[in-house]
Symmetry: none
Subunit: 229 residues, 2 copies
DNA sequence: GCGTTTTTGTTACGTAATTTTAATATTTTT
DNA sequence: AAAAATATTAAAATTACGTAACAAAAACGC
C-alpha cells in the first residue's frame, strides 16, 4: 500500500463493521470504525482521513446528514455511501449532496475495494513522484527520465533503444536478462535480425561503461545477458 | 451547465444510444455517439472530450479494450462503463483497468446522470487544482490562458499551435506523448507533412527552453516526444 | 479592400537512430 | 578436433527526426 491511507468507516452494524475493518486493514489501509453518525463526526473532526465510507441508515445521525456536515468542513474528501436501500431516489440524493459513490447492500467486499481504489486513484494524484529518476551505477549516474548517463561529469545522451535495454538490464541487476524476453518487450518479436540488433546495442552499452570496470554486461551463453555491479 | 462539457458515448444499442444522447443533450451536455469501439477510438483521437461513457459489449472493439487504449493516451479522463452483465469479476476488471464507475443495465437514466455529475464534479474540481492557469516549468512560467511564457522576466507570447503542443506535452509530463495522437488532436490527421510540421514546432518549443536545462523535450524514436523536468 | 504582419504549412536536405548485413570470433556439442 | 550454434563487431542500408528557408494562408491595422 502507498503511504498508509486513512479510512473513516461509519457503520452501525457491528458485524459488518468488523468484517470491513479487518479486510481493509489486511489490505494495508488504516481504518477507524465509528458505530454511529455522531461518533463518526467527532472522529472526522479529530483526525485527518483520506476517504470516508458511510452507511446511510445509522442511529443518532444518519449517513446523509453526516456526509453533509463533513462536506461543510471538507469540500474535497471522497465519500462512499453504503446502504441497504436500493431506492434510486436515495442514490441520487446521496450523490447530489456530494457523495462520490453509492453501493447497495448486500455487496461483495471485493467490489467495495475496487470502487474504493478507483476513487482513491482519482483523488490522490501523486504521479509526479514514484519513479526514482536517478540510478547510481558505480561512478556513473543514469537519469532514467532524461535517458542520460553522467560519466565523469560528461553527459551522454542515450538513444531510445539504448535506454530501454539498459533499464531492462538494471531491472534484472545481477541476474540474467533473457534474450527472448528482452527482444519481445523491446523489439516486439525475437526474430534473428532483432537478436543481432540487440547484440549491437549490448556492444554500445558496454562501451559506455569501459571507464567503470565494476559494472559489466556479461553474456550467458544461450540464455541472455547479465548486468553485474 | 458549466462550459459545455463534451461526452463521448460508445454504445452499440442504437435505441439506447439515441435515448441517452437526447437526454444528455437536453441536460446541456454535448454528446458524440459512436456505434462501436473502433469508431469511438477514432472519435476520441479526433477531438477533446471531458468524459467517456463506454458500453462493455460492443462489436469490432469491446469496451475494456477501448478503455485501455484511451487510458494509454490519456491517464486522467473519466470513464464510466455501462454493461448488461452484472458479474462482479467484470466490474472489478473494469475499475482496475482505469474505469471510474460501472453501471449495470438496466439502469435508470437519472442514476446515470447523477453518477456522471458526481464524477464530473470531482474531476473538474481536481483539474482546477491540478491544472492551474499558471504552470511553473523550472524557472519558466507558462500562463496557459494567455498562451504566454515568462522566461527570466521576458514575456514570450506563444502561437496557438505552440501552446496546444506544449499543453499536450505538459499533460503527459515525464511520459511519452505519442506522435500520431498529438497529430490527430492538433492537426487533424497524421500525414507525413503534418509530422514534419510537428517537428518544426518541437524545435520552436525547445528553443524557448534553452535557458532552462532542467526542462527537456526528448524524442522517443518511432513513438513520440517526452517532456521531462 | 489593401498591404503588412503573424502564423502556419511545405519542402528539401542534413543529421541521427535503428536495422540489416556480413565477416569474424567464440563457445558448446558431438 | 570438427561441426554447429551462438556471439561480437564494423559497416552499409534504411528509416526517422531536426532544421533552415521559403510559401501560403490567416489575422490585423488602416
Amino acid at each position: 500500500m502507498d503511504t498508509n491511507i486513512k479510512i473513516l468507516l461509519a457503520e452501525d452494524d457491528v458485524n459488518l463493521g468488523k468484517v470491513l475493518t479487518t479486510y481493509l486493514e489486511a489490505k494495508g489501509y488504516s481504518v477507524t470504525h465509528a458505530n454511529n453518525g455522531e461518533v463518526a463526526y467527532d472522529m472526522f473532526c479529530a483526525s485527518n482521513f483520506d476517504i470516508c465510507i458511510i452507511d446511510v441508515m445509522m442511529p443518532l445521525k444518519d449517513g446523509f446528514t453526516l456526509a453533509k456536515e463533513i462536506r461543510k468542513l471538507d469540500k474535497h474528501i471522497p465519500i462512499i455511501f453504503l446502504t441497504a436501500k436500493n431506492l434510486q431516489e436515495d442514490m441520487i440524493e446521496g450523490l447530489s449532496i456530494g457523495g462520490d459513490d453509492y453501493i447497495t447492500k448486500p455487496f461483495s467486499i471485493e467490489v467495495l475495494l475496487a470502487r474504493l481504489q478507483a476513487l482513491l486513484r482519482r483523488t490522490t494524484q501523486d504521479q509526479d513522484k514514484g519513479t526514482p529518476s536517478m540510478i547510481e551505477l558505480g561512478s556513473i549516474t543514469f537519469d532514467v527520465n532524461r535517458q542520460t548517463l553522467f560519466i565523469k561529469g560528461e553527459e551522454k545522451k542515450l538513444t531510445t533503444r539504448e535506454a530501454e535495454l539498459l533499464i531492462m538490464l538494471i531491472h534484472k541487476k545481477n541476474d540474467v536478462l533473457e534474450r527472448g524476453f528482452a527482444l519481445k518487450k523491446i523489439w516486439g518479436d525475437d526474430s534473428y535480425y532483432n537478436a543481432r540488433s540487440m547484440d549491437v546495442y549490448i556492444t554500445k552499452l558496454r562501451k559506455y561503461f569501459v571507464s567503470e570496470p565494476s559494472v559489466q554486461i556479461i553474456n550467458v551463453h544461450g540464455v541472455g545477458f547479465k548486468f553485474v555491479m
